[in-house]
Symmetry: C2
């Protein structure tokens, strides 16, 4: 069996990505980060999702990005916005500096240690929030860099960054995940979910998620506070 | 004043890099990592060096790379080698998977938050240990990726990864640092330094360091155990 490292936040996109990797026949190694996010209940969601998917291993790495700050998700001096124009091309204050780069870098190290040549990340270029580190050109540049960074790459084991959601709408994502048996009630997308994982319903992430279920014609299992 | 983020391990190379950045007129923000390294006394050295250089800020980020392992520096099931052929092109077991990539990624986030467009890292392509993430082609690829990863880059603020040691021998490095007033007695290079920072004298890092001082005709201030 081929091994894959899956970046698993506990949200809808990464959970779907995990189920897709599993469906492709990979032995899955899930990786989550306790990075000081306000919505840390997503980590409980990540554990439940990893278990439901039958991963080989699930690591949760503590890395306090609040020490750097600069985001509404990690800095208490910012509020999570609830009235953003989701069609705007502006990068919102929920952008976390360097987040995907840091997570992919640690995933790269984890992949090297377990002998995996595949990382999966649930970035999406359609119904996303304008984050620069979700764009295909960023992912491509990361992959080029990664293939110069490691001992494994020097020895000819190329690393691939898999982005199965990149061209899907949110509706297509939930449709595919549902077909694969993913129970979206396990996932937490809300940027300010409470300790029990209940969603606010008004942040950008909640609104994109709700629209996805509506567009797909699927019932929304999200538990709102 | 321009701001720069300096990756500061507490060793000879990064300390010299900090003094060079300061000499170039940068306001310096030092960044160190408590990553589970066996030679954690380098962090005390980093504090002393940062203070001696008069940095604006020195952050030490806890990030336990032992959770991933795979290196003689972070995994107790490996020993630090003391009889390597330093002229070999093999990558030694002291290679830490993804280390420079992870550190540069977090430095990128820190730079973005403080509004800096310069990161300094003391990688060296001459008297080094064969690590893939010290090569110029890796640094170049990281810079390309970084300039697609951040909100700052989207807004036109390009990030530069400065590598002032890249083409210097160890002897040239200590010669330049000495001219800039760096007290190398503050620095700890040893991969298995004791809690007081005393060096073993036999690991690869100790041997490269001692040879550098000898080649430069400078007295070696290293305190050996």
């Amino acid at each position: 069996m081929k091994k894959a490292v899956i970046l698993l936040s506990g949200g809808l996109d990464s959970a779907t990505t995990l189920y897709m990797a599993k469906d492709q026949g990979f032995d899955c190694y899930a990786l989550s980060f306790d990075y000081g996010q306000k919505h840390s209940s997503e980590l409980s969601a990540a554990k439940a999702i990893a278990e439901s998917a039958g991963v080989i291993e699930h690591k949760i790495i503590p890395l306090n990005l609040r020490l750097i700050g600069g985001s509404a998700l990690t800095d208490d001096s910012f509020s999570v916005p609830t009235d953003s124009d989701l069609t705007s091309s502006d990068i919102p204050v929920t952008y976390v500096p360097a987040r995907n780069t840091v997570f992919l870098s640690i995933a790269m190290g984890y992949a090297e240690v377990i002998g995996s040549q595949n990382i999966f990340i649930g970035v999406n270029a359609v119904d996303y929030s304008g984050y620069p580190d979700c764009r295909p050109e960023f992912i491509h540049a990361f992959e080029v860099m990664a293939n110069l960074a490691t001992k494994a790459s020097v020895e000819g084991q190329k690393l691939k960054i898999n982005t199965p959601l990149i061209d899907l709408t949110k509706a297509e994502i939930v449709t595919q995940g549902t077909k694969l048996g993913l129970d979206y009630a396990l996932t937490v997308s809300c940027y300010q979910a409470d300790a029990a994982g209940k969603a606010c319903g008004v942040c950008d992430s909640c609104r994109l998620r709700a629209q996805g279920f509506a567009d797909a014609g699927l019932s929304d299992p999200t538990i709102y506070s």
